[in-house]
């Protein structure tokens, strides 16, 4: 290490350096082009880390996690083990859901309620993997439009089926039920 205060520069860059250390760096920077270039690189790194580390779909995730919190509070009193389990299910499936959503949808609403198709409510097993969930949804040409709700229930749109086609609706629900144990609950939304 040289006499350049390079080990302090990152904290000058993030504006947390104070007192004598800050003054020392500022004095040095005034006369050192080498360290000014190092600082410029650190600023570039900081800008990129902020952009890179912000989780994609932040808005949607925040919305889902907020719902998880609400469901926990509705239970009235604190039950650590049960709440840990239920929150874990909802939060994990929130993460799985995010990976199922196309990237461009991650920042938008979870789905328009006015789009055509039939809505069914589906709950997946707590240990269902993303691939299992995707396979199940693909089998019925379904897409998640909302969820997980308070009990870990997703709203799934079966876009290809008209709302009056009871036979195809029943067949799709049967297909979903047959996907047990990945799917633990299915019912048509009233």
């Amino acid at each position: 290490m040289s006499e350049h205060p390079e080990e302090l520069l990152p904290w000058y860059a993030n504006d947390t350096l104070a007192g004598e250390e800050r003054e020392r760096v500022e004095r040095h920077l005034a006369g050192c082009a080498h360290c000014r270039a190092e600082l410029a690189l650190l600023h570039a790194m900081r800008r990129e880390v902020k952009a890179l580390d912000a989780a994609p779909g932040e808005l949607v995730r925040a919305q889902l996690l907020k719902e998880a919190r609400r469901s926990r509070l509705k239970r009235g009193r604190w039950m650590p083990a049960a709440l840990a389990a239920s929150l874990a299910v909802v939060v994990i499936q929130a993460a799985v859901l995010l990976s199922l959503l196309p990237r461009h949808e991650s920042y938008g609403p979870l789905g328009a309620r006015t789009a055509p198709g039939v809505i069914v409510q589906v709950r997946f097993a707590p240990d269902a993997t993303e691939r299992e969930m995707r396979d199940v949804l693909s089998a019925v040409n379904g897409s998640i439009v909302e969820g997980p709700g308070a009990l870990g229930v997703y709203r799934v749109r079966l876009a290809a089926i008209p709302s009056g086609d009871r036979e195809r609706i029943a067949a799709a629900i049967e297909t979903l039920r047959a996907a047990a144990p990945v799917v633990t609950h299915v019912e048509r939304e009233p």
């Binding site: 504006d15 270039a37 880390v49 890179l52 580390d53 604190w78 874990a88 993460a95």
Partner: protein, 192 residues
């Protein structure tokens, strides 16, 4: 103490008295930063979500013992670090040790020679992503959370000198990468 820190301490005090609403408010205030930090370590969304869950339960349970010696953010990220490392170790993965990380950073070009390359955000991003786990974690705390080095040392449980040298080495390796000299630290002995 900042207004934000004071609010967090009040929330922790309310949690210590058993107020669930305080946990909800704390969760809203900190979940994004805890999740982003956990994701940096465990590199898996579902695992990061589980760590987030474990951390918030630990905050709830540990609130009566919180003595205010650290800032709330430092305390909660310290818990997250511990939980995330545990999870990674359960997956039988290993972290590189500092001796291995230090051995590679000596021959880096000056920033002035690579700053033009760093303007290419794709290239800069690619080089950041090639850094080791330990380097990316300290960069996250330094540049995403903008924390001072003593707090980072407290969170990851190492001396302040280690934090400073890790960030310094991360920058050196990044410069090597930007200059096209090397992709990342070579595989040297690791510690579990």
């Amino acid at each position: 103490m900042s207004e934000r820190d004071a609010t967090a301490e009040q929330l922790i005090a309310r949690m210590a008295r058993g107020e669930e609403r305080a946990l909800a408010e704390f969760y809203d205030a900190y979940h994004a930063r805890v999740y982003a930090f956990a994701l940096k370590l465990v590199r898996d969304r579902a695992d990061a979500a589980e760590v987030l869950n474990e951390v918030m339960l630990e905050v709830w349970r540990g609130a009566p013992q919180f003595a205010g010696r650290s800032r709330a953010l430092t305390w909660v990220l310290g818990i997250a670090h511990h939980k995330a490392i545990d999870r990674v170790r359960r997956r039988s993965e290993r972290f590189e040790d500092d001796a291995a990380l230090a051995a590679v950073a000596d021959e880096a070009p000056a920033a002035v020679d690579v700053i033009a390359v760093a303007e290419d955000r794709d290239r800069l991003r690619d080089c950041l992503e090639r850094l080791s786990e330990a380097h990316r974690v300290v960069l996250h705390l330094a540049f995403f959370d903008d924390l001072p080095y003593p707090e980072i040392a407290e969170i990851i449980g190492c001396p302040v000198g280690t934090v400073k040298t890790r960030v310094f080495h991360a920058k050196q390796l990044l410069k090597q990468c930007l200059a096209g000299l090397t992709a990342r630290a070579p595989s040297l002995p690791t510690v579990s």
